[in-house]
Symmetry: C3
């Protein structure tokens, strides 16, 4: 598992630290805009220097309009016998997100269109939203729904819409040698769901901590949290030009907990971003355990917005236990027990390894490209020819020859077109083996990182 | 056989209508320029709004010079016993096309170089021409030629050359949504030969009739009749710039009758024209019964001129019973009985299907390419998320999900680079399935045909 | 072996002529700059109109500095018993090339770092150089070295460095129809080594003689001799712009004698130079016996400089018994008996064949690309159509049809993009078969060589 790439782990990003954070975040009734989202961002701000921006309600954002903020104080559904059968206080999933305020007494027949369940999982409460069309509703286990008696029900939702707020996103940056950027992003609008989606934001935080401690960053790293879809669109509304100019690769982080063992990468629409190439290289050439999914505009997360044809930005997605492919997807079975905190630490490790391979595998340029540079005076070549050309079985000389061959290969192919992964393939070695060569050549002033 | 693409057939283009037309055209002694060609064009003009242009004799056309018109009134070859053994009045093939006038009495030895037959088919009269070198000759069955007695023969050809005419071509256009054009063309210079070449002009007429009745044409369709080779060169002399600017794909129609069951498409020299891609797609992805031949400059028809390296226009060719590959090729065995009128109707059906796939399979563009457009308010997405994401075995919801996936795929890949065939491949569905999606998106103002 | 390409061989380039030349060159103590190199060049100047240029000592050449010239008059190593155990007069390999002058009496322990041998071949004297770091040393058989007694040794080297000379290279040109050039080059800095490297310069001379006698040269041929590495860098210092502008393909000639049967071509870094394509074509399509090695910057000769990423010129390399892969590489086992003079003649034959295929296989352009040119009046097409289209089993007509097909194929694909090898593949014939077609079309003014 690329052990060579691992730096010492941050003491702070322990399982217990992440679990405390999780436990604080899980009960909050988040949605795409409003108090729940604000409170959640504030918790992350304690550990990352996030700067928050607000795109005001009613702003036209491409084909969309920024919705009002939604506030919810209480929501209960009472049956004819006076029993509360759905209650926001018991589960944030009990009320349809963005429900309008109601205080209705109504028959079961009139109520039915406002009730949602998951027939396939009769004990689960589904996660239902209606952001852009005013309605209201309750979510409850199918087992309860099927047993409802006739009679008068009482639906009470104490909610409201605020026109003076807006959609928020929050970002921070870790500068690197190059202004060219890697974007890491996740979304924070889901209420009490664990794998989808507290895992993504928590892994994002873990990565911020890790990358902040790297001895050197070749790229600049940008960290972004937003509500899904409308948040990514608001971000693009303000930062698309910046991303077009600076973005090397972006990765949407989602569903990074759960029982699946391997990380799973969804390619960018372009299919040739640096991250796309790195993941393919790791899987195919270094037998790194990772699944690869093709780009697909029909499901997923914010990469759908970044990769829409007008932007077509180099943004992929990393997941572990993939959305839509587990029983608890979008319902109350998606718990901490399912997600598992140790699984998040595994994901932080894995994504960090990928990012380090991305730094090591990118493009460099030979600074003395006209003829071979003179290696002898730089201590990179024996001054007497026989030491290197003579047949010799000593390991040291074999190693010296191998090292020199790799060095010559790096100098030859670091022309701004070939990346270090292609050179590793030509050398028949791993990226790690080239890192030593790169260091020596950088120190000798013969090589420089190109920035993508 | 792409039944979904078929519209109701024109009542007018019945077999009996085509047969009447065939019977009127067959006996005319056509050549590349002159009265026979004029009369034949006039017959087509009754059913298509053809506009005729003349390129005058002696005009320099690229490497060629426009020949004079040729007129022929009678031609007879009489044997020593006074029997007429070749007579234009009995077969238009009896005299070498563009024979100069003669009235010679000559020995069999002197006559022999002027006699032509087909040894492999001893009862057939061959089709022989000599447009650019003045000579004369008679064509007759090899069985007759071999039995000719010694003695004095009388060769009489009452022909003439007119310098004040020229080479003619005739065209008409059916406008479509886009000014970008599909060219359909055939040649009309062969005398009494059926498959090669009355089938091509008759299928062209049938297609004009069909396409004129389509409820919608995305492309503009151009229909062209000319004499082979010199006619295409004259056309290019006047319209090459127009074609370079407007032509999406051209198809030369030839040998479209006869016993072979499948249509056979010859690729354009480019190998990537829209028609090239459509035919390959139909054959490979939809198992449409069609043969594909590579481009070949050594045989064929006017595509050789359109595809010459200076023009390299995207022009392919459609045939059925292919030239050079049947006994009657270029001789009197190429009759109506061999060609068969029903075979022409089959060809009209088949070419129409290909053209409709060409309309459906071309490029479209997403008019809201920045982020995903908001589908809910347009009735293209359920406003409540659970309706579409919930696991559900009802056919209707499965269909709704499939429809939505295709719609998202179309929006994502209609970027001006991918054509609808590539999108159908990605969707794992046929073009037909995408047509519904395209209609909905066009109606919603989210998609437009790009014109090629 | 492409017998059709062979012209009559030069009487002068006989084995005995080459052997005399070899015997004169072999004993000279050559190095990268100095008297030995000058004398060797003068010998080649007798047979080729070489023009010599000198790049002065201390000139900065890319990352390098031109070294002083080295002169050596005598060098002896005497053992404690007064026996001379290494003597320049007996082998030019006995002294490390560019040894500084010494006159030391020293113990075996002090001497040891200055002694070089080849443990794997105990009777061989190795070839050792130290051009850019001042040192001195002797080379001797390992069998001798291992048996050296303790005691006082006497090392005498009477050498010197001249600052008023420089590095020399020598070139001459055979003009062709096109100013576009083929570069043939070898290096002449090795002292008494046969395969590596007197074979390359002698084959270069043989090729000059052959090519000078070709009835026609489509390309201009440039012949270059220089010291390895620094000589190529000096040449690039002065001629890189010229090569960028004019060079079609270059070939470094090295190790062209010895027992291996086939020539072995090392691809240029680009991998698509004309020579790269020709060699691949000959091997794959005409089953020509040749090995192909990929480009490799870690070993080889001056192609490493020409192909460095700043230049990336289309330069490959031809060898036979490849450097580093035979026992005598860089030691005194590399003798005339190993190299064999007849092997040089074989190499001259083989390289000449490749160069002739390179002429025949390059790009031509159709001068009448708009439509097909009118072939009849040019005698390239029968005026009466039936002669060529009629089914006929006579060999002559079959040949005429084949010839016409090839002619049409050449006209169609000579568009400046396709080379003649691609056309031969499409025709299913060898390059030889197209040469006749090309001649006829050139004579008719329909085709011209494009120059690369």
């Amino acid at each position: 598992m690329l052990a060579w790439l691992r730096k010492e782990r941050s003491a702070r990003m322990t399982e217990s630290f992440l679990e405390d954070l999780f436990d604080e975040l899980f009960p909050i009734c988040r949605s795409i805009a409003g108090e729940g989202f604000r409170r959640s961002l504030a918790i992350f701000q304690r550990h990352m220097p996030l700067e928050i921006e607000t795109v005001p309600t009613d702003t036209a954002v491409f084909d969309w309009t920024v919705p009002p903020e939604w506030s919810i104080r209480s929501a209960t559904l009472t049956d004819p016998a006076g029993r509360v059968i759905a209650d926001l206080a018991e589960s944030t999933l009990s009320v349809v997100s963005y429900s309008e305020p109601v205080n209705h007494r109504l028959s079961l027949a009139a109520l039915r269109p406002h009730l949602h369940s998951v027939p396939a999982h009769p004990d689960a409460i589904p996660y239902v939203t209606s952001y852009y069309k005013r309605t209201w509703g309750f979510c409850l286990p199918d087992r309860v729904l099927r047993a409802l008696p006739e009679g008068e029900y009482h639906a009470r939702i104490d909610s409201g819409f605020q026109q003076d707020g807006g959609v928020q996103f929050a970002q921070c940056v870790l500068l690197g040698d190059s202004p060219r950027e890697i974007l890491l992003t996740s979304y924070l609008c889901h209420p009490s769901l664990a794998n989808n989606e507290l895992s993504g934001p928590l892994v994002l935080l873990g990565l911020f901590d890790r990358i902040s401690k790297w001895p050197r960053r070749r790229f600049t790293y940008r960290f972004l949290l937003n509500p899904e879809t409308i948040g990514a669109l608001c971000y693009l509304h303000r930062y698309a030009d910046h991303l077009r100019d600076k973005l090397v690769s972006g990765i949407v982080l989602t569903c990074l907990g759960g029982p699946w063992e391997k990380l799973s990468y969804k390619m960018s629409r372009r299919g040739n971003s640096l991250a796309d190439r790195v993941v393919q290289y790791l899987k195919n050439d270094e037998e790194y355990p990772i699944e690869i999914r093709p780009f697909d505009p029909t499901s997923g997360s914010d990469e759908r917005q970044y990769c829409s044809p007008g932007f077509n930005l180099p943004v992929g997605q990393l997941a572990r236990t993939v959305y839509g492919q587990y029983d608890g997807y979008h319902n109350s079975l998606d718990t901490k027990e399912f997600m598992r905190i140790p699984s998040l630490v595994d994901s932080i490790d894995g994504v960090e390894e990928i990012l380090q391979a991305l730094e090591a595998g990118s493009r460099f340029v030979n600074l003395k490209p006209y003829g071979e540079p003179q290696l002898g005076p730089r201590g990179l070549y024996p001054n007497v020819n026989s030491a290197i050309t003579r047949t010799n079985s000593s390991d040291q000389l074999v190693d010296a020859r191998t090292f020199l061959n790799r060095l010559l290969m790096v100098l030859s192919y670091c022309d701004g077109e070939h990346d270090m992964m292609e050179i590793a393939r030509r050398c028949g070695c791993k990226l790690q083996a080239l890192s030593q060569v790169v260091s020596k050549l950088e120190a000798a002033g013969l090589l420089a990182h190109r920035g993508d």
